[in-house]
Amino acid sequence: MKKNFTINLFGVLYNIDEDAYELLDSYQRNMRAYFSRRDGGEEVCEDIEHRVAELLSDMKAEGVEAVNIDHVRSIIRRIGNPEDMTGADEPADTPSDGGGEGPTTPPPPPEPERPRRRLFRDPQDKMLGGVLSGLCKFFGGNDPLPWRIIFLLLCLLSWTSLAVVYVVLWALMPEARTAEERLQMCGKPVNPQTLNEEIMRGVDATRNFVNAPAMQARARGCLGTFLSVVVACLKAFGIFFLACLLLGLLFVITLFCFALLAGGKAVMAAGLPYWGWMEVSTQAPALSWLLIVFFVAAFTSVALPLYALIRSFLRRPDSKPASAGRHMVFLIVWLLAVALAIITGIATGSFFDDAMDRIEQVRPEAYQEADMRSGIYLTGGSWGYLKQGGWVFRPL
């Protein structure tokens, strides 16, 4: 029994198996990723999608009820992978008159050197984010399990500070989404054949995983059971660390809010004239500077993520993501701003409170001095009132 989807291609509905849909989807995505870098690519993708629709409707006319994975494979074989297409097209671009008779010998491929590995997260073999799996593949490994064990041990030894590194890497490393990127992740050459293999392998892998996870475990035998226990433990540890991290994050957020309140009080005081800011700032001369730093830091630590959020909404999905370096700078600036905001916020708050206390102590004496007339103390307003009523005070 298989799950079935209904897809809509240019107004016509087709029934398609789940795995066949996965394959077709990754084929199309791969196509878009490939052609989006070439001019006229959008059009070519659309035309090919039309062709796929055409072939599917031919199948429908032949009485195919639901498209299965073999149908999609035959379609892909017919249409070919993007690398095939431009490969045949490019030689025609060289200026040649008419064309020669007989098969033209293709020029030897100019890239025999080893393909460059690129760092990606591996979404097909992951426990949390696929970071370690990606790292393992970047360094030429195949099985990320020892990496995970070592990493978790290091995590324990470093009092979870390595978990922060993990989360940072998670945020920085892009995910290998297309077949091309997965090939680059493993350092394999990107050509039509490997691409096709990779697409098929990906679909097979997900199918196997869905259909028979227990079979795989049994195939590993006794060691397999042990390993699966270890993996389960690791997973539990992973969740525990994540929970710790979240708790830590919550703490930082609370601290930040507290700092905002404390600093905000001082900012309000500075903004409202009748509070007598001059008095406060004479009591605590460093306060003005602290306040400015706090204001800038707090603003940055709120505005930066907002800016990033807005940008990620506005960014077109197929445009190139910003480089890892820029992400890094962004993150560091933000963390600094948050830390600075917390420190200066709390400092500002306590300075301000101190200053207020001192003012409270000083103020009554100063007022008494000012409102003492002829040895009698009344508040300033009362003196004015009495004067209005024509009262005169004379010393006895």
Binding site: G40, I48, R51, E54, N81, A88, G98, G100
Partner: protein, 109 residues
Amino acid sequence: MLDFCVLLLLRRGPSYAADIILRLKEAELIVVEGTLYPLLSRLRRDGLLSYQWQESLQGPPRKYYSLTPDGLRVLDELDAAWEELARTVGLLKSAPPVLPAPGDVPIRL
């Protein structure tokens, strides 16, 4: 080479991509169908082709490609060049492969 063939096919009247693919496959010129689409797109951007959408009875609407006046001119040029080349090659092919010993083979001119 493939450009030339596609233009030739379209001289007989507008046709859509699947039609062109069928004929090119008959002539054993292309292996994978996708080859055609970047090529058509390029020819259209060069102004040699134009296309029109037409509804089809079964399946999605189709793009019918036809030659533009520019395309026709380029095709004529290519045609002339091809004829010339074919003539030259034909001449060279009909010439004897090695110099025969005198009297062995009658010389044709």
